[in-house]
């Protein structure tokens, strides 16, 4: 009696141990797979814009509950929740500026709706939103740069003459006329995407891109001489450094 009991116990224990080992291994494997998906998802796809006030991508993926309340409260049906096959993490809100841009609602209902803080409630003035930055990605086909008076992107910008201005350049073709280049000020552009939606070309020449993709950054150790000079009150380098002149071969000073 006792013996069979012991045997039973041993079997139970063995089963428990194999079960545990199996479960631990499976969990570990699954964890690795999921980590892989997670790491891949941290890349912000260029064509998907986050709603106003969204935390930087990694923070957003830690915070957004995928509830869609921002989507429901957006009066312009700008936002949608990502399906598994969409370019951003499944279930998170985004918009495609070319089809429906953000209308920059003054009361920012999407941010108000967000229960988690993934859309930062500190954003109170929509003009401070930084959903992305507009970039004139195709200077060859932009009608304005060809000397035509298109300028549609400029006209539709909610922050006209601030976020986007017209810079006078020379018409490359005629060499005598002026071309009005749409010029985006990345410090003011909210990334609403109105310009991208409005571009009259078949494929838009101006696109809003996520900040991470559009804005360059100086190396941390870079110092700009003129700024340092202003801070210090005098030039940091006492005299003009005399560096050897490097001229193309065959030329003389």
């Amino acid at each position: 009696m006792n013996k069979t009991n012991d045997k039973g116990k041993a079997i139970t224990r063995r089963r428990f141990l194999t079960d545990t080992a199996q479960a631990a291994c499976a969990t570990g494997l699954l964890g690795l797979g999921l980590t892989f998906i997670a790491e891949k998802s941290k890349v912000h796809a260029a064509e998907a814009m986050r709603p106003p006030g969204a935390l930087p991508e990694q923070g957003f993926l830690a915070a957004c509950l995928r509830c869609g309340l921002c989507v429901r409260d957006c009066p312009w049906d700008t936002l949608k929740l990502a399906k598994p096959e969409d370019p951003v993490a499944s279930g998170t809100p985004y918009f495609e500026a070319r089809s429906v841009p953000c209308e920059m609602c003054e009361d920012i209902p999407c941010v108000k709706a967000c229960p988690s803080g993934a859309l930062n409630p500190a954003l109170e003035d929509i003009n401070n939103a930084r959903m992305g930055v507009a970039v004139l990605t195709d200077r060859e086909n932009c009608l304005s740069l060809q000397g035509l008076r298109c300028e549609v992107c400029y006209r539709v910008c909610p922050l006209i003459d601030e976020a986007i201005t017209l810079k006078r350049t020379r018409n490359k073709r005629t060499q005598v006329h002026t071309a009005f280049e749409p010029y985006v000020n990345p410090d003011i552009c909210t990334g609403c995407g109105k310009c991208e939606e409005a571009c009259v070309l078949e494929e838009t020449a101006i696109r809003v891109l996520p900040q991470e993709l559009a804005v360059g950054q100086l190396g941390k150790h870079y110092r700009l001489g003129w700024e340092e000079e202003e801070k210090a009150g005098k030039a940091l380098v006492p005299d003009l450094l005399n560096l050897p002149d490097r001229l193309p071969e065959g030329t003389k000073l």
Partner: protein
């Protein structure tokens, strides 16, 4: 002889014959109604524009005021070191408290959209007599639950939400399914072909989470009149967690007739199918149900 008898028996048939169709299907129907109504309330917004409850199972807003949040999801954001806004915290406490009061895994059987899917796989198994099943470890779901809570800390993002089929199903129905149905089909096929009750009974981390809340919940299922049990085995056929039946129904010692609150989904299907009406819902303050002499409870009635 006995085996063939078992194979021919349709669970609940005897109850239908002796006590009527409604008694034999009451909780099944109520449960389906509950699942449909919750989804229906959510659907009012996108379909007819009446805003009773917005959002989805992950987080929602009732009547434009009351916030509700999946407590396991809230825990994940905290594990990812995101300082959750008060709205979501309140929502999580509300939902967590609600299910704690009502029985933990009542979520599974009365609300969760995956439950009808795995229930269907279970019925198909019975119908087509599919018996082969890969035996998964009973503790697998707790491992998964731990994984769900640890990965956000490691990776900094809510990893589980990439594949969470429960959230995905609701989100899909309310906001657009896309290819999400593949995952739901995969769960169905997994339960049907690979492992019996594999998903809800062994793997689902949300079920494990609500199971833990259900452990201290006052709403319990009890084999109160177990002395009447005539071993027809119908309850074993329908219970999504059949391993909890023997300890309550046929205790080795004078154990309590309450079905293990950690695993029981409070679906009430055992009440339905049992022609002897052995089972009942009970409200027991946590800690008051001790192991007790066999039939004390039923004698007291």
């Amino acid at each position: 002889m006995k085996a063939s008898q078992k194979a021919e028996r349709t669970p609940g048939q005897e109850t239908t014959e002796t006590l009527g169709w409604w008694t034999a299907h009451k909780f099944l129907i109520l449960r389906r109604l509950s699942q449909i109504s919750v989804l229906g309330l959510f659907l009012l917004t996108p379909v007819v524009g009446i805003r009773v409850i917005d959002g989805n199972l992950s987080s929602s807003r009732l009547l434009n005021t009351v916030p509700m949040t999946d407590p396991l999801l809230a825990l994940q954001t905290l594990a990812a070191f995101h300082p959750l806004e008060l709205t979501a915290v309140l929502g999580a406490l509300l939902v967590g408290g609600f299910y704690l009061l009502l029985g933990g895994r009542v979520f599974c059987s009365w609300v969760c959209p995956i439950n009808p899917v795995t229930d269907l796989a279970g019925s198909f198994r019975r119908l087509f007599k599919i018996r082969s099943s890969y035996r998964l470890s009973r503790s697998a779901r707790y491992w998964l639950l731990a994984l769900v809570l640890v990965l956000p800390t490691v990776t900094g993002v809510l990893v589980w939400e990439f594949i969470n089929p429960i959230a995905l199903a609701y989100r899909g129905i309310l906001f657009g399914m896309g290819t999400g149905w593949i995952l739901i089909l995969a769960i169905f096929l997994f339960d049907l072909i690979v492992s019996q009750r594999g998903w809800c009974g062994h793997l689902c981390p949300l079920g494990a989470f609500y199971g833990i809340t259900g452990k201290i919940s006052p709403v319990q299922m009890s084999a109160a009149r177990r002395d009447k049990c005539n071993d027809c085995m119908d309850c074993y056929a329908v219970c999504p967690e059949p391993h909890i039946l023997p300890p309550a129904l046929k205790p080795s010692k004078n154990k309590s007739p309450v079905l293990k609150p950690l695993d029981c989904t409070r679906c009430g299907r055992c009440i339905d199918v049992c022609a002897q009406q052995v089972f009942e819902y009970q409200i027991n303050m946590p800690g008051t149900v001790k192991d007790q002499p066999d039939t004390q409870r039923s004698l007291a009635k």
